[in-house]
Symmetry: C2
Subunit: 133 residues, 2 copies
């Protein structure tokens, strides 16, 4: 927990495991296509706002403030569902993303960064002999 | 960076932004269905092993050791592709998951934790009047 006050339901707050800064990672996924759009960070209050406003809201680590996704860019994330993981330290937020999710203009933040060269594994054959992208 | 040595390609290492413990979050997604399976943590060497062995490999924060997903459970994650996000502080690992991804036995870790009550938002109508699951 941080010293930032939060109206988050105490039953939910009790289940969260936070890092030293009171934050936990939140994965934003497009609800219908399954695309992983971005990873942001939330504290208790960001989660509370995400659960109660219909808009995904993060804590900006760089600016040190709440960040309602799309307030500046117009690229809102409308919340469809929110799930906590088995040990309470990660969140999956399924959203309807308006426009590109990434500030670079790509649809997801993982397109912007690009693929890394990876050796592909196969459940039947094991690791492939050749690295591929 | 931590003091754990790593054989990770320096060109990739240079692009990473790590937390105070030298870690960054890695999202595991089923490559064909798009399901988000879990979120794990990697350091440089875990990423190196993930990129070069065909098996998703994490750093276990609780045990303080590398964790080749499935070595104990048999529920391997065979790597299909790996992407870094726009600012280098999160990873998307698309895998072929054998068996359940979660140690609780559910297919994903986000089923195990269960949905949180969320007000649903709509890009045309705005936030819904009723909270729903």
């Amino acid at each position: 927990m941080t010293d930032r006050p939060s109206a988050l339901d105490p039953d939910i707050a009790r289940r969260l495991r936070r890092d030293g800064a009171g934050l936990f990672p939140a994965i934003a996924q497009q609800y219908d296509t399954g695309e992983v759009l971005m990873l942001g960070w939330m504290d208790d209050e960001a989660l509370h706002r995400t659960l109660t406003t219909g808009r995904a809201t993060y804590w900006s680590r760089s600016r040190g403030e709440y960040w309602v996704k799309g307030d500046t860019s117009g690229h809102q994330q409308w919340v469809r569902s929110v799930a906590l993981d088995c040990d309470g330290d990660a969140l999956l937020v399924r959203v309807d993303q308006v426009g590109p999710a990434c500030h670079t203009g790509t649809h997801t933040c993982f397109e912007a960064g690009g693929p890394l060269p990876a050796r592909v594994g196969d459940r039947d054959a094991g690791p492939a002999a050749e690295a591929s992208r």
